[in-house]
Symmetry: C2
Subunit: 447 residues, 2 copies
């Protein structure tokens, strides 16, 4: 893509409405534009990142054996009356009346809808277990939407639902999602720590929030150092195998959000206690037969007995993650994208657009990189060098190739890595082979 | 994917509520489930097709130089008051009040929103032309939703918008979309004919509907035989070149929907007149400064003069296309997917699940095909052969590999092509090489 034609309206000014760094940087980088309070349009640069996050979430769900479908955004109120949640949900639910006066709503979540679908079709224990998921826009009418896409009203969420015959099965599904979430966040370049969460009136110990560490995170979190240091499983994880030991490796150490913080437990960790700021990006939850009983979702067992389905739900905030990644990965100059989610892998800066040698070199680099599937943005605008450097740092592509008249005279360019800031003068060929060689980089958990 | 675990609830019974064949087959094949009137959930099989259609639409938009973004589903009513369309839009607009009493709506289209975004950022003639698009769910509160996804209330649409400085520029953008639409539909396995459409109060000759021919289509259409016989441009189309001759090749012949049918014009064609049934799947429209003037969307020209943007809009019904493709491609036994959109490329039928030789052969075929990126569904259920044949024909995968105990004894399987019904007994190796060889097939316009 050439910046002379790409719709990427960057800005030097800090927007007054943005209180947190990710919101500020997304507005400045031309990634999003507010449509109404808590509702955003994703401009081309931002949408590329959102799609990368979505793709990684999808790949890891599929790898864990989940099946993708898509439920609509608009639901019938009757479904929620059946589960008993319609009246109680409060003002966060966007309630709608259609032209025939029927009560509808914009789905804030999908437990009711998936239970209805599943129980309509699945009648026998033989078709269990299953985990279904979708990635769909949700709406929660927050009273004070803020922090950009981190707490918007219309937001993209992956929500999955597991169906099992008994607690042991539900626990296996839960463990699959537990491990799969760790892999998902690792591939997104994030360090995620699972922390026990409230299960509410249902009780039990099966609810975890996944908190990523970010200096500017929304809440304080506490955990054992080991959780920060240990690695997640690689692509060879066997989701049909016993994942309990892996889950134990992540749950045997102390970890708590400030809501669940306990002074004496934390003190017992001594020097191993880490205090940090965190952002919730995922939540997994076992809720047993809560919906299957109220909505009469049962299958027949081997002896024709009625078995109410044991269910769990598993959410990842896909649009929120774009903000969360920036909170975890930025510096004074702008965003520092992890390789896996960057909107382009390489940014080529033409320091003297209009100079035939520089133009030719940039064209040739662009064509070569594109030919190898390496997504590249060329800054071919006629602007002063300082503005180009600033924009390229702001939008945070992992690699920069700086093409100037002096270097190009002897066939060399400057290669800069955005995260370390390391710069090197290298030949064009050597730059190209470096950029295409490292195309698979993205941490130990990359697929 | 293995059918023993895949969530694909097929049915033998014709659903009473379905009046047209695509709706019937989508319900029977377990592709969709109605959530409310005109609102559908896409089950895993159906969602795979929807995503394939979406991907091809996206690829062809990108190839034509359009830039993808994403606007939200919920819009502010104020935007529509500005353009003057809020009051007049009627009951098809789903109007919503949020918790603070603000008037919102579920977007039925996005002219207002894109004009607001574009004009906020783009101030100079130097940044023109641009074509922006998004693929997003829309809502139109049809009084009588029917025909399944062909006329639903919540539907997925690609809508694009072009911004130019003058009529000539707008015409070039229009031509790009004209050619790109022909390519898009050809890749989807459809024969699409552009037909002049009403431009309404704006006038002019720049509005075309793209009609695909389908025996069970919604309306009667008339056109010159040449339009059916001529091919669309291949991947080497130059979108920066002059596309007027290509557009002329498609517009010089008579073509009309029944609304615009003229007896004497049609009679003049003699034997070249083709009468057929058609389905509208796309609509492109030049509307000049209609929105830019009411919403004050102007840029500065070379002499600092104010230039109101010349705009066009370009829509493709993405979810509707899934139904339309089935209308155009089915037989008495079920759906016949074009290769490019099929939910899986190959269906492997294990005629004797549980027999070690058949199981091993199916596993080995499945693993080999998956290894080459060929999407494969294995019917490993313990059902009688007839039911498996019926289901496989119903869901319409392009290729079937039938593995039975007799053939496997001498290393052979039956290879069946769904569209022609041609069957052949071949060795496993030969079947595999045929299936992976032809993986690029999909008509002359495939990318």
């Amino acid at each position: 893509m050439r910046l002379s034609t790409f719709f990427m309206p960057t800005s030097r000014d800090d927007p007054a409405e943005a209180q947190i760094v990710s919101h500020r940087l997304m507005l400045r980088a031309g990634m999003i534009r507010q449509a109404s309070a808590g509702i955003y349009s994703w401009l081309p640069l931002g949408y590329r990142v959102l799609r990368n996050v979505e793709r990684i979430v999808r790949e890891e769900q599929d790898r864990a054996g989940c099946q993708e479908m898509l439920m609509p955004t608009i639901q019938s109120a009757d479904l929620w009356r059946e589960s008993g949640r319609y009246e109680g949900y409060g003002k966060e639910m966007l309630r709608i009346e259609d032209r025939h006066g029927r009560d509808m709503l914009y789905g804030p979540t999908n437990e009711e809808q998936i239970t209805e679908i599943f129980s309509h079709y699945i009648k026998s224990y033989r078709e269990i277990p299953k985990i279904l998921y979708h990635i769909q826009w949700k709406f929660r009418d927050e009273v004070r939407p803020r922090f950009g896409v981190m707490r918007g009203r219309e937001f993209l969420m992956k929500d999955g639902y597991s169906f099992d015959l008994d607690y042991e099965g539900a626990r296996r599904s839960y463990n699959k999602m537990f491990v799969s979430y760790l892999r998902t966040f690792a591939r997104l370049g994030l360090k995620a720590i699972p922390m026990e969460a409230d299960t509410g009136p249902i009780g039990g110990d099966l609810s975890h929030e996944f908190i990523i560490l970010a200096g500017t995170g929304e809440s304080e979190v506490y955990c054992h150092r080991a959780l920060i240091e240990q690695d997640v499983l690689g692509t060879d994880v066997d989701y049909d195998g016993d994942l309990a030991p892996e889950v134990a490796r992540w749950t045997e150490h102390y970890a708590a959000t400030d809501e669940k913080f306990d002074e004496s437990e934390a003190a017992a960790l001594g020097d191993d206690l880490v205090r940090a700021r965190g952002i919730e990006v995922g939540h997994i939850f076992y809720f047993g037969t809560k919906y299957s009983k109220t909505m009469n979702a049962a299958v027949r067992g081997p002896d024709d007995e009625e078995i109410f389905l044991e269910m769990g739900s598993y959410g990842i905030g896909v649009s929120r993650l774009v903000g969360a990644i920036i909170e975890a990965s930025h510096d004074d100059d702008g965003i520092v994208w992890p390789d896996t989610v960057a909107p382009f892998r390489v940014g080529v800066i033409n320091l003297k657009a209009g100079d035939p040698k520089c133009d030719d070199a940039c064209d040739s680099i662009y064509r070569t990189l594109r030919g190898t599937g390496c997504e590249t943005l060329v800054d071919d605008r006629t602007l002063r060098a300082g503005a180009k450097f600033a924009d390229m740092d702001l939008i945070g592509l992992p690699w920069q190739v700086i093409v100037g008249p002096r270097g190009i005279g002897n066939g060399s360019v400057e290669l800069k890595r955005r995260d370390t800031g390391a710069r090197e003068e290298v030949s064009i060929d050597s730059a190209l082979s470096r950029l295409t060689e490292s195309a698979g980089a993205g941490g130990p958990a990359a697929s």
